[in-house]
């Protein structure tokens, strides 16, 4: 009897792959514009020809991606080694590298996790192969066995080509750390990417877009990455308050420079240009809970590109936050808006670097989820009838820190919620991670290669819904996925989670979530 059942089960099993194969073929043929994995040539094309290439030709403008003006090119290997030696001396990266050169088996299990490799099929995009670029330098120049072997075998050591190769490889990686999930030796390739970029930055090789923004944040007049002056910030906040009064039917404030407030709120500063709804949604939640919070005019930018390429920058940016928390005598902690990397850098490093007083760091999704759980927020369930899917920003989801909280919020007021097939800790990077989203020159690379897997995952969730929203609670992911949706022709609108909360939250006494403005 048992044997019979087993045969029957096998029989069903045999027909299933055929059916799946059919679906896959169908998808390949007509229902998706996705192509076969790209060749190296195709990828180079994607790099070399930004979308508006004809424009650049007309202007005769070179597309520069890395900053290294005025630095002697032939001197790079020596300078790289000097920078690496200094970093190893003053940090505990040495301990990590010592461990990794022993455990790295180069088994390539990480390949199945990497969305860049999935799109290119290029061996240079295998995470452990990329990490090996740096581990090889460490082994050759910073271990006794390596130095001895180098002398015996006449190995000349680090070459200029190798530095060049690292400069390319470490920015092909989006530092999403998904490969870490699969590594049997527990190697964090994202950390190696970070260290590689850090050393490169020390010798002047870093993406121009990041360096320019960081310079403005650390030494510019406005002290934020988008160069928004305080007067413009105040004007914007005033405008948003008017908007909220019109549509929500109550007065909601953006408190500015309130001394002794419980929470210091920092949004990724680009939200003040691009994401009106996200900010209004957050203000509405904080209004509904009667929270004491403030935006500080001394520092209102949560963005910290240091996490992507330099520990010096990482520390300096966080010290600016500490200064502001001190100035405003913040009582409870730091509240970070919808932004993955800003949340991670503050959460994991603020208290490492804080000189005087440690403070808890809370992401707005954690905060709002707690309020939903406590029943302090009222929603109109009828407001969002569209199909909704949720993108997990790597920086908050990979460690398992913020995975369930946003889903709790979504279920509180959205009925048609469809998960992507890879979600949570296992979520796939938007393709613009690790700061690459700020580099406009490589948009075709980001949307056709880095973001290709994400595009497929979003597309799978669309069929059958009435309209479609993709939620991405992160300024980086928002920009990137908007471009992915546009370049891949996917019929979905990209929003933040608080954008939808803004629509559905009920604040006024009449119980109406949305008052159509009269103009």
């Amino acid at each position: 009897m048992a044997g019979h059942a087993r045969t029957a089960a096998l029989g069903e099993g045999v027909s299933a792959p055929a059916a799946t194969g059919e679906i896959v073929n169908k998808l390949r043929e007509g229902e998706t514009p996705m192509k076969q994995p790209l060749t190296r040539d195709e990828r180079e094309k994607a790099y070399a020809l930004p979308k508006k290439h004809e424009v650049i030709e007309r202007q005769k403008l070179p597309v520069r991606y890395h900053v290294e003006d005025g630095l002697a090119v032939e001197d790079r290997p020596r300078r790289f080694l000097a920078a690496m030696a200094a970093i190893l001396k003053h940090t505990n990266y040495r301990f990590v590298l010592d461990h990794y050169i022993r455990t790295s088996a180069k088994c390539s299990r990480c390949t199945v996790q990497c969305q860049v490799f999935a799109a290119t099929g290029d061996v240079n995009d295998i995470p452990c192969r990329r990490s090996e670029l740096l581990l090889r330098v460490y082994r050759r120049h910073f271990t006794q066995a390596g130095m001895l072997r180098g002398r015996l075998l006449g190995d000349p050591g680090l070459t200029d080509e190798h530095v060049q190769q690292m400069a390319e490889a470490f920015y092909d990686c989006t530092a999403c750390r998904r490969c870490q999930l699969e590594c049997p030796a527990g190697i964090d390739h994202g950390l190696i990417t970070h260290l590689g970029r850090y050393i490169l930055a020390e010798i002047g090789i870093a993406p121009r877009a990041l360096v320019v923004s960081t310079r403005e944040q650390l030494t510019g007049e406005t002290h934020n990455t988008s160069a928004i002056p305080v007067a413009a910030l105040k004007d914007t906040l005033g405008f948003l308050e008017e908007e909220m009064a019109e549509t929500k039917g109550v007065e909601v404030k953006f408190p500015v420079d309130v001394e002794g407030a419980d929470w210091l709120f920092l949004a990724p500063v680009s939200d003040y240009m691009m994401e009106a709804e996200t900010l209004m949604g957050i203000a509405c939640v904080l209004h509904a809970t009667g929270e004491s919070w403030t935006i500080g005019t001394g520092d209102y930018d949560a963005i910290n590109y240091g996490l992507f390429y330099s520990d010096h920058v990482l520390e300096k940016v966080l010290l600016m936050v500490e200064e502001e928390a001190k100035r405003l005598k913040i009582r409870k902690g730091i509240l970070i808006g919808e932004c993955g990397h800003a949340s991670r850098s503050a959460k994991f490093f603020y208290n490492q670097f804080a000189r005087e007083r440690k403070l808890p760091v809370v992401n707005i999704l954690e905060y709002t989820a707690e309020q939903v759980r406590a029943g302090r927020l009222e929603f109109d369930r009828e407001m969002i009838g569209e199909r909704v899917t949720y993108h997990d920003p790597c920086n908050i989801a990979r460690s398992g820190w913020i995975v369930e909280q946003p889903r709790e919020i979504i279920r509180a007021f959205i009925d048609d919620f469809r998960e992507m097939s890879a979600r949570g800790r296992n979520g796939v990077c938007c393709g613009g991670g690790g700061g690459t989203v700020s580099i406009d020159e490589i948009r075709p690379y980001r949307t056709a290669i880095g973001g290709r897997r994400k595009a497929e995952l979003i597309r799978e969730t669309i069929a059958g819904g009435k309209g479609h929203y993709t939620i991405a609670p992160c300024a980086n992911c928002k920009k990137q996925i908007r471009e992915v949706l546009e370049d891949n022709g996917i019929p979905s609108e990209l929003v933040g989670l608080h954008d939808l909360i803004y629509k559905a939250i009920v604040l006024s006494d009449d119980g109406v979530a949305w008052h159509e403005p009269e103009y």
Binding site: R58, Q59, L61, R208, D235, F239, S270, S438
Partner: protein, 105 residues
């Protein structure tokens, strides 16, 4: 820094073609920059946006929030993208002679 040439004149621009000195901006230059951005002819609708951006920039030293731009010029975001194919931040700001937006914009 490269030069951008139009009607026999030259202005300094950055790698992405944004003019470096906002004071050299004039309507003739705006027309030339528009060509580069894939806009053949600046219509009244274009000028409405460009003038608003310039006025805001002169007052605050930065471009306005996208939503404010749409509301004050009474132009839906979709229409802005139709008018300036590379969008409000990269397209319209360039034509209006604002510096290139930085950060996650």
């Amino acid at each position: 820094m490269p030069d951008f040439e139009y009607n026999g004149k030259k202005v300094v621009v950055d790698e992405d073609g944004f003019i470096q000195d906002p004071d050299v901006w004039n309507e003739e230059l705006a027309n030339a920059l528009a060509q580069v951005e894939g806009v053949d002819q600046l219509t009244d609708e274009h000028w409405n946006i460009v003038n608003y951006l310039r006025n805001y920039y002169q007052q605050f030293g930065i471009a306005p929030m996208v939503r404010k731009l749409c509301k004050e010029t009474k132009t839906p975001l979709k229409r802005v993208y139709e008018l300036f194919p590379s969008g409000p931040a990269k397209g319209a700001c360039k034509v209006a002679g604002l510096p290139k937006p930085t950060g996650c914009v």
